[in-house]
Amino acid sequence: MRKVFGRPESLKDTPFHYCPGCGHSIIHRLVAESIDELQIRERTIGIPPAGCAVLAYDYFDIDMGEAPHGRAAAVATGVKRALPDRIVFTYQGDGDIAAIGTAETIHAANRGEKITVIFVNNGVYGMTGGQMAPTTIIGQNTTTTPGGRNPDRDGLPIDLSEMLAITNGSVYIERTSVDSPKNINKSKKAIKKAFRVQMEGLGFSLVEVLSPCPTNLKMSPVEANEWVNSTVKTYFPLKVIKDETGKLK
């Protein structure tokens, strides 16, 4: 008998504090597996967000540096410019990247900073108790959109990944999800590819991962995944948004 599935090396043994069924835990594992398989653990530096994943550094067994809310792309720019041969990634939620951090994200992509961005889109501000996020769906109830997100008051959910695809410096942008094993496997492929884009010095890469937040959706984990599958994907379709990588070595 051989073990065919276990904990990746790049994750510490610390049990996750995330809620039952939270997508963060899965995505952390996929990032760690990618780092393991690409054998880059010893030269990777990660920048976590403010948000539920603020404690990401307690889980990833790599060098990690805290950034203020939204500023991860600018901090990562500094790290990568100082250490161009290291692999630098940010791990950010939807508020971090597409509300407060929009300018820093767009400009890092526009400059073609050779960093990798993991964008966890769960449509809500989880850590602070479930407020509206830039990617909250129309009609979705949150603590600051009683009665549901209303386009007149709140605008429509923002298509940050599509916006970033317009920038010249972005090279690879894909949207995936973790609502099923099949999609989880696709997410991992995308994350690994995004890291390889950086390893080959091609430019800015980003993977947007649709993720369930059962607690703030007030659903069970299974129901939350069904919500991602049936509703979130209609606003945020799973696809390769931009791929100018040519043939990766």
Partner: protein
């Protein structure tokens, strides 16, 4: 080889930074300090290991500084008053994470958009922690072209030694003036001692975390007291002043930066008239040279605080003296630059009103 050059103030800062081994600069255009940003752009472009980015905002720039500092390299940003307001979040993080960095503020009129003329209205912002939380940054106040270079070099040393952000508080006038400056031997960044806390990939060692988040209140408290003890150590080690004609002075003017230069001119004039006046010029605004001021109060009965503001350093002078002596104040905010004659008149009025003795 050190060399002497006639340099614009902002260029003196830039050249000194590069010679201090700084290879990373992030900035944003804002009057009256664009000459520094532009100097760094061409200076760093000429170096194979120089990195200059004109960031999308002052906010982005300070966060790029944060990133570079995590890797242990010397890094600088600069701006003027409103832009420094934007950097406060980043400065708070640098302080909380105990990361070295140099931030240059070429002060202008304020608050709000203010104007582009020189002023000293950011003293509180610089010395009382313009960002949130229990922290301090070292604040250096150059008073001459030479000091714009010397204190820039010192800023990098202090930042590394104490793992703390250092602010160089200049103003629009100092940035523009041309003076001969003796520049020191350049430092090769590779020769700087390695830092044990940096992030550069966990090869052959445990992975590291750089953070300021300490959710457990007792742990946070411990960290706050640790920073406090660091501040106490800095307060014991580095306060610095210049004493100008203070030996037999009965009234001492306290001023820094451009105000101190104007004050010197005024003091020369009143000395000719027999008034015994001197100048105490703080070179460090934080730590504030309390001890030196208290020492001076041994022989001096009156202090005149002169600032290009409505009175900010004034409060620190009052706190230092704790009522021991009479403290007078003269301020010109808003970017107005008073003349030495004007200050001489003010000194004259106070001197005679308080019945101080003159030289025969």
């Amino acid at each position: 080889m050190s060399e002497k050059r006639l340099l614009r103030g902002s260029h003196a800062i830039g050249e000194a930074a590069i010679r201090a081994g700084c290879r990373f600069y992030f900035g944003y255009p804002i009057t009256p300090q664009n000459e520094l940003t532009e100097y760094m752009a061409s200076g760093l472009a000429a170096l194979s290991d120089g990195v200059f980015i004109q960031a999308e905002s002052e906010l982005a720039a300070i966060n790029m500084v944060l990133g570079v500092s995590m890797t242990g390299k010397r890094v600088m940003t600069s701006s003027s008053s409103p832009g420094i307001s934007l950097k406060q979040e980043g400065i708070s993080y640098l302080a909380g994470q105990e990361l070295p960095a140099v931030i240059v503020n070429t002060m202008r009129g304020g608050p709000g958009l203010g104007n582009i003329a020189p002023s000293q209205g950011d003293y509180f912002q610089a010395t009382k922690g313009g960002g949130h939380g229990d922290y301090k940054t070292i604040v250096l106040a150059p008073g001459t072209g030479q000091e714009l270079a010397d204190l820039t070099r010192l800023a990098f040393e202090y930042a590394d030694r104490y793992r703390i952000p250092v602010i160089i508080l200049a103003d629009g006038m100092m940035g523009q003036m041309m003076e001969p400056v003796e520049l020191p031997e350049p430092i090769d960044p590779a020769s700087l001692p390695p830092k044990p806390f940096i992030l550069d990939g966990a090869k052959g060692r445990q992975s590291r975390i750089i953070k300021s988040l300490l959710l457990d209140p007792p742990t946070m408290e411990e960290h706050n007291w640790k920073l406090y003890r660091k501040h106490q150590m800095i307060e014991n080690e580095i306060p610095e002043v210049e004493r100008y004609l203070t030996d037999n002075a009965r009234l001492v003017v306290i001023a820094y930066g451009t105000a101190s230069r104007i004050a010197k001119g005024a003091i020369k004039r009143v000395r000719e008239m027999g008034l015994k006046v001197g100048l105490l010029r703080p070179k460090t605004l934080w730590p504030f040279p309390k001890k030196q001021i208290v020492e001076m109060s041994g022989m001096v009965s009156d202090f005149l605080v002169f600032e290009m503001s409505t009175g900010q350093m004034l409060e620190d002078v009052k706190l230092s003296l704790e009522g021991r002596r009479r403290i007078h104040f003269y301020g010109r905010p808003g970017g107005v630059i008073p003349t030495p004659d004007e200050i001489a008149k003010v000194i004259n009025n106070i001197y005679f009103k308080e019945g101080l003795e003159t030289e025969e």
